[in-house]
């Protein structure tokens, strides 16, 4: 069966510091991968998605970037965090050609 992992689970970082969040998927090959942000009391905002290694599409211009160095690994990064980057970050995957997405447990990021 497929499993999706995210780490760390929680993170507190000062403004201006770098960020690296990692997501890995097990039990499937060539998945579509997604990064979402969920601000407090709000819905999900799609940040990036990837349909293959090295293929990244950005949905919202911002302070963040994403990379997919391996088939089942998706990384969310920032060189300098802003206060507004605080939120709950969710990684998700889907089978190529299907809409159904499966979510990881999320990372709670607090920028202080």
């Amino acid at each position: 069966s497929q499993t999706i992992h995210q780490w760390p689970a929680t993170l507190v970082q000062p403004v201006g510091s770098p960020l690296s969040l990692e997501c890995t998927v097990e039990g499937t090959s060539n998945p579509n991968l997604y990064w979402y942000r969920q601000a407090a009391g709000r819905g999900l905002q799609l940040l990036f998605y990837s349909v293959g290694i090295g293929q990244i599409s950005s949905e919202v211009p911002q302070n963040l970037s994403a990379s997919r160095p391996q088939d089942r690994q998706f990384i969310l990064s920032s060189k300098k965090l802003l206060l507004s980057d605080s939120g709950f970050y969710l990684c998700a995957w889907s089978i190529q050609g299907f809409n159904e997405q499966y979510f990881g447990p999320g990372t709670r990021l607090t920028v202080t």
């Binding site: 799609l46 190529q96 447990p105």
Partner: protein
């Protein structure tokens, strides 16, 4: 623009009572539709999905949803709510590999 709307931000329901959460979609063609549930501090869990065919779909945890093309709706229902159903519920839809999510409905269950 393609979108999914959840009109209710917060619903309070008594344990044992029925629950209905509303979802409306705006797409040129019928999208794939989903309901997800999120417990506090957790990821989203897929409750059920509609692709085509039977307009009444059954999901996990005793939930069902009905697709109504004439009303552009995909409402989620449960006949008898349990305290463990307290969570946030998201409707989502899409035609390709991206999904649009509603803003979510928070469900509170009172004893």
């Amino acid at each position: 623009a393609q979108s999914v709307t959840q009109p209710d931000i917060h619903i309070t329901v008594s344990e044992g009572a029925s629950l209905e959460l509303r979802c409306n979609y705006s797409y040129g063609a019928t999208p794939y539709l989903f309901w997800y549930v999120q417990s506090p501090g957790q990821g989203l869990q897929l409750l059920l999905k509609y692709f085509s065919g039977d307009t009444l779909v059954q999901g996990i945890k005793g939930f069902e949803a009905e697709f109504k093309r004439s009303q552009s709706s995909f409402n989620l229902r449960k006949p008898s709510v349990h305290w463990s159903d307290a969570a946030e519920y998201f409707c989502a839809g899409g035609n390709d590999y991206k999904l649009s999510f509603g803003a979510g409905t928070t469900v509170t269950v009172r004893a």
